[in-house]
Subunit: 218 residues, 4 copies
DNA sequence: TATGAATGAGCATTCATTCAT
DNA sequence: TATGAATGAATGCTCATTCAT
């Protein structure tokens, strides 16, 4: 609900002076506002006016930067995905051997969603409400970048750490599990933060739920 | 002044004669239509008129059975969940030992979504667009019934098959993985049917992605 | 399946170019249109679209100025009452002694409804269709301003012109009579304009229908 | 708001047996219900279903007796007017001389509305919401029966009680005043019952608000 | 360039009326 | 004859998008 304020500008009172900002800065502010609003209210329910209000610009300005509501949403989503990728990439770069990398990346992935819960919302919104003439942007990213990760998987297989399944299959399984854990964590109430569950999930992923005979014999 | 002319093409204009049916039958038809339309168009975008058209009834009739669009949606969702549960339950009842039960249930779960892809849509719609003053109905069901499954898990632990983690934690992990696989399968293109991937997923779940040393030593 | 074809007759289709106006002016135009439409069609039957058409604006613009149909109606009603009051007040200010004032005010009152028959309709609409958790706006005005008129009555009593009844009672009687005459004048057909009947009504009010003995003896 | 009760008729439980009543009785019950509902909710807002519920019949039955909602309303209104007339007529018949008759009739008129406040509502509803291609039914009755009352007026003029104005004019004035008092009484809050104000109103009508010089000289 | 007033297509919901039983 | 399930036209209100300033 917006407020319409009938205000007589008292002489001396200053209307926030029309701030002229670098286009890139404006765009970033609008995207941040859009992310918040879309996550909170859902794509359909969200009012572009709200985004404009939160960004501190006029509604027309939003449309100057993004031609439609849908484009605005997709840009906000893309921003989330870029940040998720940057986050994962940084984690990988900070670890040495492939197994440490794998763990680091998964921890970063889970941590990202603990810190940016709006991201989950945007993923779900896209899936739920956008025409989606194909895969969602999340999986477009997955496709676009999975080669980068495949190397890591192959390395782990050559080390004898991972089973010899097709690397792509392994990545899909990892993604399914991680994505499922993330989405589930927001669907059910009172789940622990993802970060706290990360190590267990990684463990299960690597070693399975079943009792390892070798562990007993060891 | 502009004119808006509304023209009904008389054509054969059969105006399907008013049919009276048993309430339960009508309700079932409307729910089936609602499931299809909501899954195809999304909760917000879906027009109740479309549901009515597909069900072959007047719009008023839809409102006679379900007081609001939201109630209609929730009823359609509930129907899906009931069917999913019936399906899983039947699978469990058809298997003898706990491990066979676990496999059967997971296969049934995946198979259900292959056969009823609309169900996934409804789950996601609910998450995305309904006020949701708490957990989604999916997880309400999970809560309501997880005791039934816990016995199965405990049995597997006593048999020395599953690790001694809290049964609830195990169920959550299973659910995350399965749910993630299901949702992912519709997000990305060209994935194999879930049914075909089920055994692999179950295998990974039990035994992990890592090479089993015991297998080597064996 | 039946078809509904919506056809916009393009014709000259001038699509009146969007005009921007001062808010006060727009509001006044919309209120004038609302008064006409509500008076002609009744509150419930009136379609907000009709108001918009008559005001020469889009429907959304009407809602920009008045948040609901009811608010629009109340504003139109208030406008009528303000004008009625201004009219009465002007009449009083233009007369010297209290008796002349009383006559002037009553004449102005009746004249107002001759000139603004829509006003009567709005009064009746309010009574008939608005939730009205209390008195109607007409009587709220009556309450709010009757002190101003009471002075006039008291003056007439001190001059020995009016009987020593409670001034408020006298005002109520005057109002009942005047209001009744106004409403009746629109209910029955072929009544003379109120203006023409005003002097007779005032006479009856002051002197009664009964023969005055004193007049005979005089 | 209606309730839809899903009730399993337990064996032995009796559905209210379909009562077959004289048509006239049914009609009277429906009219009474309609009067109540229309008065309480207003013509447009009133739901025919509510009338049916209150009358204890099916909706179809209401339509069997009255072809449209409007016809139902008009019939309810007519019933009120008939009762008002009967009431007034009885009062007149019970008094001897014309002046006593006049007082008795006015008292009966006011008393009627104290006892049947729904009647006022129906009068106002008719005025407010019915297409009204002419005078309201109230004034149709006034026209139809005013000759009966004219005799009374003429008698009072011949007795030297009332001024020699056209009898019709006098009746119109009486009606305006009485009608105005009745309507006003429901518009403003906290007015005394009409019955209590009746004698004062009659007094003012006959003798006026002004001080009677003759009374002083007497 | 930035703004926000103006627009009108779109949609949920209601309810008078019909008609199969 | 009595019923109430079925119908669909009608309408208040929203909000993405446009465009005059």
């Amino acid at each position: 609900m917006r407020f319409r304020v009938a205000m007589t500008i008292i002489h001396g009172a200053q209307k926030t002076p029309r701030v002229r900002k670098a286009a890139a800065e404006r765009e970033a502010e609008i995207l941040a506002a859009a992310t918040t609003v879309f996550a909170r209210e859902g794509y359909r329910s969200a009012d572009v006016q709200r985004v404009a209000d939160l960004a501190g610009v006029g509604k027309g300005t939003v449309y100057r930067y993004f031609p439609t509501k849908e484009a605005l949403f997709r840009a906000a989503l893309k921003r989330c995905l870029d940040r998720l990728r940057a986050c994962s990439e940084a984690a990988r770069a900070g670890a040495d051997d492939p197994l440490a990398q794998l763990r680091a990346v998964l921890r970063a992935y889970f941590g990202f969603f603990d810190d940016n819960p709006e991201a989950i919302e945007l993923f779900i919104q896209e899936r739920a409400e956008l025409p989606g003439d194909g895969a969602s942007l999340y999986f477009v990213y997955f496709e676009a970048h999975h080669q980068e990760w495949e190397g890591m998987i192959i390395g782990l297989q050559e080390n004898g750490v991972l089973r010899r399944l097709p690397p792509r299959t392994i990545l899909e399984l990892l993604n399914d599990m991680a994505y499922g854990a993330v989405v589930s964590s927001t669907l059910s109430l009172n789940r622990a933060p993802l970060r706290e569950r990360a190590d267990l999930i990684i463990d299960i992923f690597l070693n399975g739920l079943a009792v390892r005979r070798s562990q007993h014999s060891a």
